[in-house]
């Protein structure tokens, strides 16, 4: 298949999808030009189904027409296919294992717990969902502290952002959005000082500002989704929420 418009890299993604943001940010950090195509995350196009027949999900990165799937797999691919540029992963095997473990945690535990807050009902259900997010944030807070895998670092990647910062950071903006839409406190700077500081520093990075949509757009989107959920359309909105 010929690369579209002469670009070697084409990214199929969705503007409110945190997994798409991960790949966009990584491409920017590595200085790799790419063409971007906006897709509907709910209604996969023929192109998405062609390149990702198993899941039909986003993002899909096409490199010279060959499809790369799953954001964390894509990020590792970028390092391995472009090893002479800026690297997203550390070089030490143990450090790499820590990055992979906590990336797995981000998608396996943290993201679903945040999504659960969004779809929770007021009362005990919401409180339990919020508590679960706090449990997960506590684990990350600990890793940034004394004895943790990322002790004393400004970013998980050290002085500069790396793969784990990209994975955790692209998605953590939903915490602030849900705090407002759901009227809950998720990232209390007193309870999670290191995580809070890390997130603030992450969001200040130039490439991050260029990637993540403005918060008012995200708020608007989340509010609309929430209203749709409460309107009882029967749609499975858990998949709409881009905490994936």
């Amino acid at each position: 298949m010929d690369p579209a418009g002469g670009f070697d890299l084409e990214l199929l993604g969705s503007w409110a999808d945190s997994h798409t943001h991960r790949v966009q940010l990584a491409l920017k950090l590595k200085g790799l030009p790419f063409e971007y195509r906006e897709e509907d995350s709910l209604r996969p196009s023929a192109a998405v189904l062609l390149h990702n027949p198993v899941y039909g999900s986003l993002p899909v990165l096409l490199h010279r027409g060959r499809a790369l799937l799953h954001s964390v797999v894509i990020l590792q691919y970028l390092d391995e296919a472009w090893p002479s540029g800026r690297l997203l992963l550390p070089s030490d095997p143990c450090d790499r294992a820590a990055v992979r473990f906590w990336s797995h945690f981000a998608d396996d535990k943290l993201a679903p717990s945040v999504a659960a807050v969004f779809s929770s009902c007021p009362g005990d259900g919401r409180k339990a969902a919020v508590d679960q997010v706090h449990q997960n944030l506590k684990l990350l807070e600990r890793e940034l502290g004394g004895g943790g895998a990322f002790e004393g670092r400004r970013f998980f990647g050290g002085d500069e952002i790396g793969l784990l910062d990209v994975v955790l950071g692209c998605g953590s903006y939903w915490l602030a959005v849900f705090e407002e839409v759901m009227e809950v406190k998720l990232v209390d700077p007193e309870a999670f000082p290191r995580f809070h500081a890390w997130l603030r520093d992450f969001e200040e990075q130039r490439e991050v500002k260029e990637t993540i949509p403005p918060i008012d757009k995200l708020l608007e989107y989340a509010t609309a989704v929430r209203q749709m959920m409460l309107g009882g359309t029967g749609a499975d909105d858990d998949n709409v929420v881009a905490v994936n």
Partner: protein, 248 residues
């Protein structure tokens, strides 16, 4: 202090001698993955059996506070958790530079491909396998068996792209994806026997069937993947314990 039974594996010729411990149980596929990977790299290890039902072994809780699950690899004072993370760690830590004993393929696209399919295996197999093993409704059983067969069907096709006409997903030698799926073969065979159901059907999945035979015959794998009868003994004992325990 923790109590655990240490099992030393037989020292291999040319083996790397380092203090490597694996917290695990020999029947668990995710643990088997780690043991195969260590064998491929000729790294000596000690398998430390732990209690995974409550109350969990202290060493397990201490070394995997996030999930409290096996396997855990203990090496140089660090604990590495999650089988996919551990196998990649083993590949990178004991890399001889020339790539000859590499577990993941050399080409970046092929690496992405096997990572995708390994994640697919973990996404699609364990849940229905467990549900089918412990479930009792016949209707549900048929549906679960169907899910497992569907997943194996996609892997039958993936074998073509990954194996590139050779005998393993990794090509000429056992690799990352062979380990990811092969470690589950005992589980699958045991389920077929226990539930009288065909999952890895030789007629429908000829490539996987041939691959399974080759995989289980490999030196690095021999003795690590229990057969159906060993699983049956284990499950029967577990069920006996459950029925003997008074209801809470």
């Amino acid at each position: 202090m923790y109590s655990a039974t240490g099992i030393n594996c037989t020292p291999m010729a040319g083996a790397v001698v380092e203090d490597v411990k694996v917290l695990g149980l020999p029947l668990i596929p995710f643990v088997i993955r780690v043991l195969i990977a260590l064998r491929l790299k000729r790294v000596e290890y000690e398998l430390v059996e732990v209690q995974i039902a409550e109350p969990k072994s202290e060493i397990l809780v201490k070394s995997n506070p996030v999930y409290k699950k096996i396997p855990v690899l203990l090496h140089r004072g660090k604990s590495i958790c999650e089988s996919a993370v551990i196998v990649q760690y083993i590949d990178e830590e004991w890399s001889d530079g020339s790539g000859s004993s590499s577990i993941l393929p050399a080409d970046p696209f092929d690496r992405a491909l096997v990572r995708f399919w390994a994640a697919y295996i973990d996404d699609k197999l364990p849940a229905p396998v467990r549900a089918l093993r412990w479930g009792t409704e016949a209707e549900k059983a048929a549906e679960l068996a169907g899910q497992i067969r569907q997943a194996l069907g996609l892997l039958e096709e993936a074998f073509v792209e990954c194996g590139k006409g050779k005998g393993f997903f990794g090509g000429d030698a056992v690799g990352y994806l062979d380990i990811a799926l092969g470690s589950c073969l005992g589980w699958i065979r045991a389920l077929e026997k226990a539930k009288s159901v065909k999952l890895l059907d030789a007629e429908k999945l000829p490539r996987l069937t041939g691959w399974a035979e080759r995989f289980l015959a490999e030196e690095s794998v021999k003795g690590l993947v229990p057969d159906a009868d060993e699983y049956q003994k284990f499950y029967a004992a577990a069920e006996a314990r459950t029925s003997a325990t008074p209801a809470a």
